[in-house]
Symmetry: none
Amino acid sequence: MSQSLSRALQILASLGEGDRSLDQLATELGVHKTTVLRLLRTMEADRFVRRDDQHRYRLGSRLFALADAAREQHVVREVAAPHLRQLNQKTGQTVHLAAWENGEALYVDKLDSVRTVRMYSQVGVPAALHCTAVGKVLLAAQPKRQREAVLASLEYHAYTPQTLTGPDALRDELDGVRANGWAQDKGEHESFMNCIGAPIVDHAGRVVGAVSVSVPDVLLNYEQVLELLPELLATTKAISADYN
Amino acid sequence: MSQSLSRALQILASLGEGDRSLDQLATELGVHKTTVLRLLRTMEADRFVRRDDQHRYRLGSRLFALADAAREQHVVREVAAPHLRQLNQKTGQTVHLAAWENGEALYVDKLDSVRTVRMYSQVGVPAALHCTAVGKVLLAAQPKRQREAVLASLEYHAYTPQTLTGPDALRDELDGVRANGWAQDKGEHESFMNCIGAPIVDHAGRVVGAVSVSVPDVLLNYEQVLELLPELLATTKAISADYN
DNA sequence: ATCAGCGTTGCGTATTCTGCAACTCGAACC
DNA sequence: GGTTCGAGTTGCAGAATACGCAACGCTGAT
């Protein structure tokens, strides 16, 4: 494991909490100023950090340029965006878009409930497959071989008492998802959150993404969330149509 | 400058464009696989990168979280954001925000004209100083010493026939910019694009950023673009006021 | 005017990183 | 089913690289 890199990452993490001076960083890491300076210089050259006129260091623009570039790579995102916005405005709830990539369900876009603003924090991060609506939708759509492989390899972390914790329970659940054409998450990831999700399909009927709506139970109980299902299905249908 | 760190940053940059395999990264950097592996391991431990079950590497959750932090910590950007959105909606045109960082004019935010969707493509990239509105605004605001140093060192790449191609022409132009309080780009960067830009100033009158509006000439001719000037100046004035 | 605090530089040392070679694992192909 | 190819992983010895020291310079405060 690379020492200097490791220290550089610590620096970035520290800068994530706020701006720092050289000495501050040096004492924080417990290394000499010189060392920190060299690392900062390297990162500054690539714009991963910048420093303002008062010699205080901050995170650089390269960082968000990178994240944006990575997030923009999914084609589904572009097509889905306007529809997601509509769904978000109609329901007033948090909307997620996820896509299947190399054995994972990746969040590709997210629209928050409050203020209809994008909250990116989770975008680019994989979703749990056994306890999220999008995870179930995408996993259910995989070919049987791969599905079984995933079922066998999952860790089934029990986030809440409701979480499905074994391959058998999840297999049944997935069968249900395929039969219904949509999935639920009844407080399985966060005990106070209920979600419903549905697939986006291309012209060949292959599932290329999943959309979900998440609602905290203080706002709507589970039955009320189900009333949003028609809206959700209309949205995924529209996206699927546009996708071709 | 730290070699290993520098290579690690190259890796991140590459992963920003898409997922990569170990060998792919090794050949891209021109170093041994072992070296890349060690770097990746260190970054993986801190979740700056992760790999899926097919051994393909991609950016990790920590990086996305940091990117969001970087965005929020960019004061000018945060303050300007709502105003830029307004300007974008009122004019319907592409709006850029740039800031002077490390001796360059960096695009920090961008709102696209055609769709409601954000196109981040240019964010984090430096703007040409001799042929963009924001570049001129920011360069014009630099102290004379530094300004002259830049004037002498620029390459004056002639993107179009309209591009200013020498230090003398640019110096005159900058004098005009300071006198007027705004800058233009009459097809100097892309022949079919006209832009106007204006500075954001802090309480001490120091220029901390620049906003520009860009319009393709198929939509508006140059005189019509100038009619947007009051809107632009109102925006920069409002941002400047909020900045304090 | 002096001092304190902080960032910066040059340099010798040894720690850390590097690349080689060999090994493992899995898939693909005959 | 055996073989070969591709890709990732490990141990190791040499050497380049990163480290910390000490001294310098700058800026702002007392």
